[in-house]
């Protein structure tokens, strides 16, 4: 989690994925949304910012070939995975428009195959990336056995988890929730997860500590948005 400045507005740090690292630096890539990211975008070279991390779990290591599905800024947590497993992934990468297809060149060098879509058709196929993937599955049914690694907005994940269940695919997804502590202490960042042992069939798990990566099939999406 990152925070620029030391004042009390905004109060909380914001969660970000590590895009990359080398011996000296950690690399982040983020989208300006609200106060947290606006202030982060204003820092100058030499400014001191606060970092709490690394937090939570990571992607389970892929065995052989794998599929990656990214929506917009959701590419970030997947870049290191692609880098660590070069030429093993089939990447499906969608965004609103061409400008929001970040790291496209870098990503395409790391993968075996790449499929691109945008909502407005400004690059790649017009449409949602989950639909492109669905079409791909029809003609490549052998790929149904490959593990999927996925990150995108909650609505995208929600839509995608339906597909995953229908085709009984194996998919890990990085999930988002608003966070406060980042270390599992406040129980603020929970998602609903299937729990057979429970009388109601579910329990809440923290995204910051138990996640952010979950088996997508286990997440229950009936929560309020």
């Amino acid at each position: 989690m990152l925070q620029a400045g030391d004042n009390l507005d905004p109060l909380l740090k914001r969660p970000f994925s590590i895009l990359d690292y080398d011996d000296e630096l950690l690399y982040f890539l983020f989208k300006k949304k609200g106060k947290g990211t606006i202030y982060l975008s204003r820092i100058n070279k030499g400014d001191v910012i606060t970092l709490l991390g690394p937090l939570g779990n990571g992607w389970p290591a892929p065995q052989g070939e794998f599929i990656v599905i990214a929506g917009g800024i959701g590419i970030v947590p997947l870049m290191l995975l692609l880098k660590q497993h070069r030429n093993k992934a089939i990447l499906f990468y969608g965004a609103k428009n061409e400008n929001e297809l970040l790291m496209l060149e870098e990503a395409s060098k790391l993968v075996k195959e790449i499929y691109i879509s945008t909502d407005d058709g400004s690059k790649g196929t017009r449409g949602l990336i989950t639909e492109i993937f669905n079409d791909f599955l029809v003609s490549n049914s052998s790929c149904k056995d490959l593990t999927i690694y996925c990150c995108g907005s909650p609505p995208m994940l929600k839509a995608f988890s339906k597909l995953i269940r229908e085709h009984n695919l194996s998919c890990y997804a990085s999930v988002e929730e608003y966070m406060a502590c980042g270390v599992g202490a406040c129980l603020g960042c929970v998602v609903k997860v299937i729990n057979e042992a429970d009388s109601e069939g579910f329990h809440y798990k923290t995204v910051c500590k138990d996640g952010p990566i979950f088996n997508l099939k286990e997440i229950i999406w009936d929560q309020v948005f």
Binding site: P10, L11, A180, C181, Y204
Partner: protein, 320 residues
């Protein structure tokens, strides 16, 4: 005394709350420090005056659906919904780990009914190692149409006095600030046999997403904590300190040692740090060190000289 650092005599920070001796007045606020483990990765939590654990109930509670938190200007609204692992799991799995820390463990608990409060207190009291109980009366009462225990004088009196009879442990009553006259609620707790009161719990609050026109919390309302509430909390703690003669544990928006000093100066014997743990995992320790440094600089050798040392040397008038 010389002027070199070596000559500085370490001030005495230890305080006493009923029979409970604390090496310093810095505690954690319930629900913001998990069960201690989460923050023990960052520093030696044994240095704290006490650890107050997340509120427990007889049976595990799932809590509210997400979204559970929303940030507001200098504040945080939460509606965790009292999610907890239940006392059995706590006593068997978490308490043994907590007891490894060399600091008193205070158990925060609550119930849906007066009977549940009593039973929970009884079970917790049979277990070795728990230093004190803090009862959270800012929770809804099933028998009174889900009204909050701590906002109804009659119910507060009943639940406190009956829990008092059910435990020999030092009993802290954690007051709700969502009342008109917090001092009178503190007196009720005192009369009911509380050994101490702690305040403030969170302020009932709400935030709306103007795009969707929906509440930002699935639970609609939640409790406001953090720096935003500090000035109200300090005023309430000051009022309570004047009204009761049992120790008061002050909290609400403490982020720095200066914030903590405000609460001590108006009269609270100990302070608890909540939301600030989320801003900075080292908050409690930095506050502790800050208080110590301040005492050295100000030549205060014993924290009890600081507690309640507010100077008022002009006529007091209430206005506006």
């Amino acid at each position: 005394m010389g002027s070199g650092f070596l000559d500085v005599i370490k001030p005495n920070l230890s305080i006493q709350i009923a029979t409970l001796k604390l090496k310093n007045p810095v505690m954690t606020a319930s629900g913001t420090f998990g069960y201690g483990e989460e923050y023990s990765e960052f520093f030696d939590v044994s240095r704290l005056g006490a650890i107050v654990v997340k509120g427990l109930s007889m049976k595990p509670k799932k809590g509210n659906p997400p979204p559970r938190i929303v940030e507001t200007p200098a504040g945080l609204i939460n509606s965790i919904g009292l999610q907890n692992i239940g006392i059995d799991h706590f006593l068997n799995e978490k308490l043994p780990l907590l007891l490894k820390f060399k600091t008193p463990i205070i158990v925060n608990f609550f119930g849906d009914t007066v009977d549940e409060f009593i039973k929970t207190a009884e079970i917790l009291s049979t277990h070795k190692g728990i230093a004190a109980l803090e009862m959270n009366v800012s929770c809804p009462n099933k028998e009174a149409g889900w009204r909050i225990f701590g906002t109804d004088p009659k119910i507060l009196k009943e639940v406190v006095s009956r829990v008092r009879s059910a435990t020999n442990l030092p009993l802290i009553v954690k007051l709700s600030p969502n009342v008109g006259d917090i001092a009178s609620m503190a007196k009720i707790a005192q009369d009911g046999g509380a050994d101490a009161v702690s305040l403030v719990n969170t302020f009932l609050a709400m935030a709306v997403d103007v795009k969707t026109r929906r509440p930002l919390l699935a639970n609609i309302v939640g409790g406001l904590s953090g720096p935003a509430i500090k000035p109200i909390a300090v005023r309430m703690v000051w009022e309570v300190c004047k009204a009761v003669n049992i120790p008061v544990i002050g909290m609400g928006g403490i982020v720095t040692y200066k914030d903590a000093l405000e609460f001590l100066i108006v009269g609270s014997k100990a302070i608890a740090v909540g939301t600030a743990n989320f801003l900075n995992p080292f908050a409690t320790i930095e506050i502790l060190e800050g208080i110590e440094k301040y005492m050295v600089e100000e030549g205060i050798t014993d924290i009890n000289q600081l507690i309640g040392s507010l100077v008022i040397d002009y006529e007091r008038t209430y206005n506006n």
